[in-house]
Subunit: 388 residues, 2 copies
Amino acid sequence: MDERSLIFPAQEFRARIAALQAGMADQSLDALLLTAPADIFYTTGFLTRFWESPARPWFVVVPQAGDPVAVIPSIGADLMGRTWLHDIRTWDAPNPHDDGVSLLADALAQAVAPKGRIGLPMGLEAHLRMPLADFEALRARLAPRRFADATACMQRVREVKSEAEIDKIRAGCAIAARAFARVPEFAQAGRPLAHVFRDFQIALLSEGADWVSYVAGGAGPDGYGDVISPAGPAPLQRGDVLMLDTGAVKDGYFCDFDRNYAIGPASDTARRAHSTLWHATEDTLAALRPGILARDVHQLLSRGIEQRGMIPGGGRLGHGLGVTLTEWPSFTPLDETPLRAGMVLTLEPVCVTAEGRLMVHEENIVLRDTGPELLSPRAPEDLPEIRT
Amino acid sequence: MDERSLIFPAQEFRARIAALQAGMADQSLDALLLTAPADIFYTTGFLTRFWESPARPWFVVVPQAGDPVAVIPSIGADLMGRTWLHDIRTWDAPNPHDDGVSLLADALAQAVAPKGRIGLPMGLEAHLRMPLADFEALRARLAPRRFADATACMQRVREVKSEAEIDKIRAGCAIAARAFARVPEFAQAGRPLAHVFRDFQIALLSEGADWVSYVAGGAGPDGYGDVISPAGPAPLQRGDVLMLDTGAVKDGYFCDFDRNYAIGPASDTARRAHSTLWHATEDTLAALRPGILARDVHQLLSRGIEQRGMIPGGGRLGHGLGVTLTEWPSFTPLDETPLRAGMVLTLEPVCVTAEGRLMVHEENIVLRDTGPELLSPRAPEDLPEIRT
């Protein structure tokens, strides 16, 4: 094992597995079956962009005691061999006749007695990253063992970050902050938004991102129509508000925050909206404590906007952050997850500025016992102007 | 509808839906349920990097006749509203009590009679991108309607590209080729591989990629240990063979090819391996015709290496290419998919150069009635040297 390839020391992973196994015991789960990239990276340290290829399934089995077992395509043997895992079983994938199902069934049958229960994340925000037909064959083959939902088991462990994880996210936020500081260099009136998006990605890489998994944004007078669109060819115009939002990746961890810029002098509406978003965030930062619920944060952010005489936007006003761009909990009116110290979260209030137009502000924090600690350097109170 | 936001004219999507509906009729499927990003982009033109957030499921229902219905989180209404679809139904996601399940069940119940069959891709290379528990609730709710595997139905349509799609992939290949030509500018001996990966991504963006979804590679004497690892901090050394492989994205379409470079003068082994890979590819390009099977291509590439006295690597030696980094078919000994004109494919022979070391060569082609047309500009026969 080449320790230099590990993003964290093995002890970090052992602590995660111990926490998962405690959760499994509470739920009477005899093993966990993990198929999602984030869950596999979280438990093993196996980091690759090869997930972009949907061709092959990958599996990790966490037994009730002892270390995880990787059941993976042979193309990953070299890289998985450089993680802390020692039990790595491979097959030549893709195999249209048996794409790892027999090998996985054997591993699960070893770990779980015939009357046992296998935990699988199958709830909100969880995906089964293997063909459904193969899962159904696996389930039939393993009967009378039963599969049970392990979403909460994974989420309660993953949502509280270690200091080592927080350091990774803080490093990513610092990279993004340096890239945001360079936006005035390339976001001039007349430049197509697609070019601005490209230059922003280049700035993120130049400042130290390993890769850029997410960039979105928008531009328009007093705001933008949505926040998930790729850039089009239209040039930035004087009077636009430009927003850029990024999930840049450093050592497998995401940052996720945005910044707004006025292209030329800002309108009163745009300046007021930005200040409102900034102060609603300040109010919320002051009120955040472990024990409040995710839905309370939605209310704090919305109320902060209403109290300043503006209209809050709907939807999710922030979320967890870590090994994926977004994690639970969700700051919606419906999410009753209690916040806990060690959670890394985004605060993302939305303000409606005109019919079909909005502005969004976003910061990243880690919640401490005493309140939030900012991971993204705080945005300026006043909407910054890019002089044209 | 703002036509300018469409990557293709609506007619392109209508032709795809007609082809899918013909396949559905053959399989007696009354509707298709699509949840995967690639399938949703393919049928609607909905292009976003927001898939990076696993929080919300997205659905498209293709009925046996008529246009598709989008059942999506409201955050996507604006962007989906700029595609060719007109029936767009939204809910406020994520909703822990009902995350679109009722809305989707209603849409499917409208499209499919109680005795009907709903097609869902559930086979090799297909993933269900919604929580499994929600799918099981949906299935129960829609009974006695049955779900049937629609993997082949989607694959037979998606695998044959239109000229408009081929143009997109060709444009992506040209971007990557320009970036590969710049590698000698930044891949000098002494530079950490992580910096080379970063500069390569910057070059891809500078040359016109919308974003870079995949970069992998490796470096070592006479070859590398695997082809899926992220870069480490180790510096390039004189005598290394450096390989860079990319899936850069232009208008939602991928290229996927690699290039090898000798850092300083190449060893005889490295030069011979490169020439062998190049000639094995030439032989295969000369032999490729519609009607041969995917497994035949594996044999052609392997034999071309053996005939030159070197050892072919195992695994998949190429694959389909399009709206994901890799698509079916797979050039393995087990894949019996017949090749057809219009397929865009990669040829990816592997040569073992030493214990635990290999070299990989890759080109992208479109198969025509008369044989292959290169989409990636052909690699040089001789391993290029980066002078140090």
